[in-house]
Symmetry: C2
Subunit: 331 residues, 2 copies
C-alpha cells in the first residue's frame, strides 16, 4: 500500500492537556499551516482567585507558541513564582500554582470575558499574537464543568485533580453545563469540511479530557457523520498510563487497564487505534483496526514522528471499503 | 522649654503615597507599638485589569512591612516583572506597572472585597500577616475617586497621573463618592481618643493626597474638635516639590509655589507647620507657628529624625494657651 505523508486535506485533533498536547504539537509541525484545527477540552476550566482558568487551552497555547515549560509539561517556560510567594505571605490560596507569566493569560482572558468577548475569539486572538498558525478552538464558548463523583460526594474537577491529587476513588463523572452547550462554530465546520483528511483523538484521558468534548451536543453526531478516519492514540501503554490518573480511573470504574479497553471505550466513534509496540501482540483483542508503533513522546522528534505515523495510519484507513473518498468516487 | 520625646499618647498621621509614607514610617519607628494610627488616602484607588488597586495603602503597607522598593519608593522590594512582560505579549494593557509580588496584593484584596469584606478589615488582616504593628486604616471603606479637571475635560486620577504623567494643566479636583462616604470607625475613634498626643499631616500632596481624606464627611469636624496639635510637614522645599506634581499643581491653581502657601492652604486645620531649613527665613510669612529643620528624608535615619522633630514640635505646641490638657486642667 502506498501512503503519501504529505497528502493535503485538513485534520481535526481533539485534545486535553499535557498528553494530548504532545501529539497536537507534533501534528502542528508536520502539517502545512492552515490545515490543522485543534479542539481543546474546557471541562477542566474553573474560576480561582477571581480568574477564569482554562488549563487545557493554556497548555496547548503555550506548547504551540513554543513558550511551554518542557520540564512540567504545563505552564510557561522561564517562569517565575514571585506572585505565588507573595500571595502565600498575605494568606492567599496557593494550592493551585500560578506562575507570574502564566498569570498574564488568566488576567487578560478574564478581563476580556467579562467585557463580553467569547472564549473562542479571545483564544484565537491570543494565539495569533503568540504566532500560532494552527486553529485552536475551545470545544464550546459555554461553561462546562467536569464533576468527579466519589464515595465522599461530587467534587469539582480541580479540587479532585490538583488539591486532592486524584486520590479519591472515582465512581463516575458529570459535565455540568454540557447539555446546554453549543460547539464553537469552527469545530463543527471543521468536521464538515469537504477537505477533511482525518480526525485524531490525542492520547488524553478518555473520561476527563475527551468525554467532555463528546458531551457537547452535536459533537458525537458530527463525528459519526464524517467520512474520513477517526483515529485515537492510546493513553495507556502496557497497562499503565503515561501520565495522570487514567489507569487509576479505569480500574476504579471497573474497566480493564489496557489499550484494548480504551479502544473499546471509544468504539462508537473511532475507526482506528494506535497503540504502543509493547501492546502489539494484543491486537487481536481490539475492536477496530490497530497500528502499533512507539507512541511514547519524549522529544520533539517523537511528537513529529508519531504525528506522521498517525496521519499515515489514517490515510491507510481511508481506503477501507466503507469509506467514501473526498473526491466522490465510491469504493 | 523641656520636651520629652518619649512622651506617651497616641498619634494619628494622615498620609498619601511615597512622600507621606516616609514620615509615616519614621513615626512608626520612633513611637512605641500601638500608639500610631496611619490613615491613608484612597482617592487614588482605581480598578484596572479587573483588580481593585489602592496605591497609597500599598505604598504604606509595603514600607511599614519593610518590603518596599527603596529605589522607586513604590512597589515591592526584589520585584520581578514576568507578568507585565507576558501581558504585553498577548496584547494586554501595560501602562500601569504591576510587579509580580505586588500583584498578589491586588489579587487577594480584590477577591476579599468581592466576597464582601470591607477594605479596612482586609487592610488590617494583611498588615497583621506582614508583621505591621501600627494601625493602618483606609480613610473610608466606601469608594472615593479623585478626578482631575483639565481644559480637555475631567480625567480619572490614574489616567492623569500615570498614563498622562501629570502633563495636562490642572484646573481643579473632585472626589467622587466622598460626600456619601463614611470614615472608617477607627479613624474618628483615633481622633477622639483621650490619649491623643498629636495629629500629623505627612508631607503629601495637599490636593490629591490630603484633601480626599478631608473630604470624607466628619473628618474636618473631628480634626477641628481635637484639643491637641495638628502639625503638617511641608511637601514644598524652597519653592520646589520634593517629588511629584505638587509644585506644578500649585502653579496651575494660581497659588504661590512656596511652603507658606501650603500652610495657608491648611490654615483651617493645622496648628503648626514644619518647613525645611531653606525656608526658615520666610517664617514671618506663615499663618501658623512654624519650625524649620531638615525635612528632606533620604535615609531611614532621616525619617526617624524628622518623626522625632515633628513630635517634639507638636509637644511644644501643646502648651499653647488655647489648648486644653488631656488631664482636664484648663490653660
Amino acid at each position: 500500500m502506498t501512503i503519501d505523508p504529505a497528502r493535503s486535506g485538513t485534520v481535526v485533533a481533539l485534545s486535553g492537556g499535557v498528553g494530548g498536547t504532545k501529539l497536537a504539537l507534533g501534528l502542528s509541525r508536520v502539517l502545512p499551516p492552515g490545515l490543522l484545527t485543534i479542539v481543546a477540552n474546557t471541562g477542566d476550566d474553573f474560576e480561582h482567585l477571581g480568574f477564569f482558568i482554562s488549563p487545557d487551552l493554556d497548555t496547548l497555547t503555550y506548547a504551540l507558541a513554543g513558550v511551554d515549560n518542557l520540564q512540567t509539561g504545563w505552564g510557561r517556560r522561564d517562569e517565575t513564582w514571585s506572585f505565588m510567594t507573595a500571595l502565600g505571605e498575605i494568606g492567599g490560596e496557593t494550592w493551585f500554582k500560578l506562575g507570574d507569566r502564566d498569570l498574564a493569560m488568566h488576567v487578560e482572558r478574564t478581563r476580556r470575558l467579562k467585557s463580553g468577548e467569547p472564549l473562542s475569539a479571545i483564544t484565537a486572538d491570543i494565539a495569533r499574537r503568540l504566532g500560532i498558525e494552527v486553529t485552536l478552538l475551545p470545544m464550546t464558548d459555554n461553561p462546562v464543568r467536569t464533576k468527579v463523583a466519589t464515595p465522599d460526594g461530587v467534587l469539582d474537577f480541580q479540587d479532585y485533580f490538583v488539591r486532592r491529587q486524584s486520590i479519591p476513588v472515582v465512581t463516575g463523572f458529570a459535565f455540568d453545563g454540557a447539555a446546554a452547550a453549543v460547539p464553537v462554530p469552527g469545530f463543527l465546520a471543521a468536521l464538515k469540511n469537504p477537505q477533511l483528511r482525518a480526525v485524531v483523538i490525542c492520547p488524553s484521558n478518555p473520561f476527563i479530557s475527551i468525554d467532555p468534548i463528546l458531551a457537547v451536543p452535536g459533537v458525537r453526531a458530527a463525528l459519526a457523520a464524517v467520512d474520513v478516519p477517526v483515529v485515537a492514540v492510546s493513553p495507556i501503554i502496557a497497562g499503565r498510563a503515561v501520565k495522570g490518573p487514567t489507569a487509576k480511573m479505569m480500574r476504579e470504574l471497573g474497566l480493564a487497564v489496557s489499550a484494548p479497553a480504551v479502544a473499546e471505550y471509544y468504539r462508537d466513534i473511532i475507526t482506528g487505534f494506535m497503540v504502543h509496540e509493547e501492546d502489539a501482540d494484543a491486537t487481536a483483542a481490539f475492536c477496530v483496526p490497530v497500528q502499533a508503533t512507539n507512541i511514547l513522546m519524549r522529544s520533539l522528534e517523537d511528537r513529529e514522528r508519531l504525528a506522521r505515523a498517525v496521519l499515515e495510519f489514517a490515510d491507510c484507513l481511508t481506503v477501507k471499503p466503507r469509506r467514501i473518498n473526498v473526491g466522490g468516487s465510491v469504493q
